[in-house]
């Protein structure tokens, strides 16, 4: 009885959780006239037309290409700088270490709205507006602190005796780090990469402000379509569904680390 009640509660929650997403999926499979003319619980005349439009029109699909470009750049930059820093925090004490660690955290918590205008001016001065690198660098503001915190959590789980043994065996620090240590924490590196990718993917405020046309992310392309006079709900829904796909594809692999990643490596 008790178990049955628990399953019922869980299933009810999952249905409620999936309903809004289902509704958008439903709309993405219908054309705009069909959507406006009647409310249907399932597409009566399912069509892939909306997806075809997005995948054949460069103004649409380049949005996805742009998003992937700056998100990937951000992930690589973040990992390259965060790995050594996390190792330093995990293995050594040094002057100002605690203050630095706290300062990093404040940047994860900093409101994007506060930085919006000055970041725009900074990147304008450098002539980087509308380049992928501008968004990729701006997103390091919150992704680098996140990566350092998560990686530090994983690295501190590796006993320090391993480092000491390796150094006695004559390994140099860079060689030990690249050939022994990183393979040891590869799960942590994967999880960190996932979270960098994800937070850069879901962010819109910086991405929209720092781009005009050439590097415009898909999320901003969608916003523009909403404000246009002829509103095509089917197309909008299809574009939305396509932004969920990358997350949905990789979520299975990180399911056991999701909580740890969101909690800055502290669970």
């Amino acid at each position: 009885m008790n178990v049955r009640w628990r399953i019922a509660a869980l299933v009810a929650y999952l249905v409620v959780l999936m309903l809004p997403i289902y509704w958008m999926l439903n709309m993405s499979l219908r054309d705009n006239y069909d959507i406006m003319s009647q409310l249907a619980l399932a597409p009566l005349h399912p069509t892939l037309h909306n997806y075809a439009v997005i995948l054949t029109d460069p103004a649409w699909y380049l949005g996805y290409v742009n998003s992937f470009a700056y998100v990937s750049m951000n992930t690589v930059i973040t990992l390259v700088v965060a790995l050594p820093a996390a190792y330093a925090f995990s293995r050594f004490r040094f002057v100002g270490d605690k203050h630095l660690f706290f300062w990093l955290l404040t940047n994860r918590m900093a409101p994007a709205a506060v930085f919006l205008l000055p970041v725009f001016e900074l990147y304008s001065t450098l002539g980087l507006i509308d380049h992928y690198i501008a968004v990729a660098l701006a997103h390091t503001l919150f992704n680098v602190p996140l990566a350092v915190w998560i990686l530090e959590g994983f690295m501190s789980g590796v006993p320090r005796e391993i480092d000491e043994t390796a150094f006695i065996d004559g390994y140099s620090l860079p060689r030990f780090f690249l050939t022994v240590f990183i393979p040891l924490i590869r799960a942590g590196v994967g999880v960190t990469a996932f979270f960098c990718f994800m937070f850069s993917w879901v962010e819109l405020l910086f991405a929209r402000t720092l781009t005009i046309t050439e590097a415009k992310p898909i999320a901003a392309v969608m916003t523009r379509t909403v404000s246009a006079s002829g509103l095509d709900w089917g197309l909008l829904a299809a574009a939305g569904i396509l932004t969920i796909v990358p997350g949905a594809l990789v979520i299975y692999f990180v399911r056991n680390y999701i909580a740890k990643g969101f909690a800055l490596g502290r669970v």
Binding site: V16, M18, R93, A237
Partner: protein, 292 residues
């Protein structure tokens, strides 16, 4: 065993320091610059001292945005925390496909771009084409038009926020529950403890660490919320769902009132800084196991 003291570790931290300083300190100083000057154009600016701060601290729109912000964050915590813990309690504890499927479905809203979250709820809540909006408006017969009725706009934004982020609380609480050794439950069964007693005296204390993190994360992130309510309501009707970030962007980009926006930014940042410090202390204690 204490970590060795070695200042050469700074060399490893330097790239991170340089990158984050570039992104954080330069813009922050720009904001501070704006907040103490009156800018007419690129060449004409005068130093005005703390005038903008005085004006902002007396600004009634800022006061109401701050009030709304605290109310919103409090509501978010009140709804998401009990709900998230409840969901974690009914999630399957053993491995297997059902557990994996549950984890994947629960985590899905967390991976959706924030403006798409707003879009999902626009098409879900509209009275003409949205499932829920249509249901409330036509089937229940309650007039529902969230873009024009402030109370309904509020309910909509809170509902969206709860839908979006309760999964995070659930996953954190679930991670805490999974870490409880089976021996605790066996001991409780031998003692004949009730389900409530197990929750109150075993599960809840063992979840204290993760729940501390959940409270702080949810408070911080809801305090900074911008994109989702902006897409859903645009801060309206009127100013009724204008939270701090939305008001700041209106001020800085919409009205280009950079002096006020600068002063507002510094005040906002200081509040966040104070909250971050509380967060940091709590994380340190969770890290060393004191809070567990």
């Amino acid at each position: 065993m204490l970590k060795p003291f070695d200042n050469r570790a700074w060399l490893l931290v330097l790239p991170v320091f340089a990158l984050v300083a570039f992104n954080a300190i330069i813009p922050l100083m720009t904001v501070v610059n704006y907040s103490v000057q009156d800018v007419f154009d690129a060449t004409h600016r005068t130093f005005v001292g703390a005038d903008w701060y005085r004006a902002m601290l007396r600004n009634s729109r800022l006061h109401s945005a701050l009030g709304r912000q605290f109310l919103f964050s409090a509501l978010v915590l009140l709804i998401e925390l009990p709900l998230g813990v409840g969901i974690a309690l009914v999630m399957p504890r053993k491995g297997g496909w059902a557990t994996s499927l549950t984890m994947v479905l629960v985590a899905l809203p967390l991976l959706i771009p924030w403006n798409v979250i707003g879009t999902i709820w626009v098409v879900f809540l509209r009275p003409d084409i949205g499932l829920l909006g249509h249901f409330i408006d036509h089937t229940l017969g309650i007039h529902f038009d969230y873009p024009t009725v402030p109370m309904q706009a509020w309910i909509s934004v809170v509902l969206m926020e709860a839908w979006h982020w309760t999964p995070l609380v659930a996953l954190l609480a679930y991670a805490g529950l999974r870490a409880i050794p089976p021996a605790y439950y066996q001991a409780a069964r031998i003692d004949g403890a009730s389900g409530w007693a197990v929750f109150r005296y075993i599960e809840l204390p063992k979840m204290r660490g993760v729940l501390t993190i959940a409270v702080l994360l949810r408070f911080m992130d809801s305090f900074l919320i911008y994109t989702e309510p902006f897409v859903l309501t645009g801060g309206g009707p009127g100013d009724s769902t204008t939270f701090l970030s939305i008001y700041l962007v209106k001020l800085a980009i919409g009205e280009f009132d950079v002096g006020s926006a600068g002063a507002f930014s510094v005040i906002y940042f200081l509040i966040v800084l104070a909250l971050s410090y509380v967060f940091y202390q709590a994380l340190q204690r969770v890290g060393t196991g004191e809070a567990k």
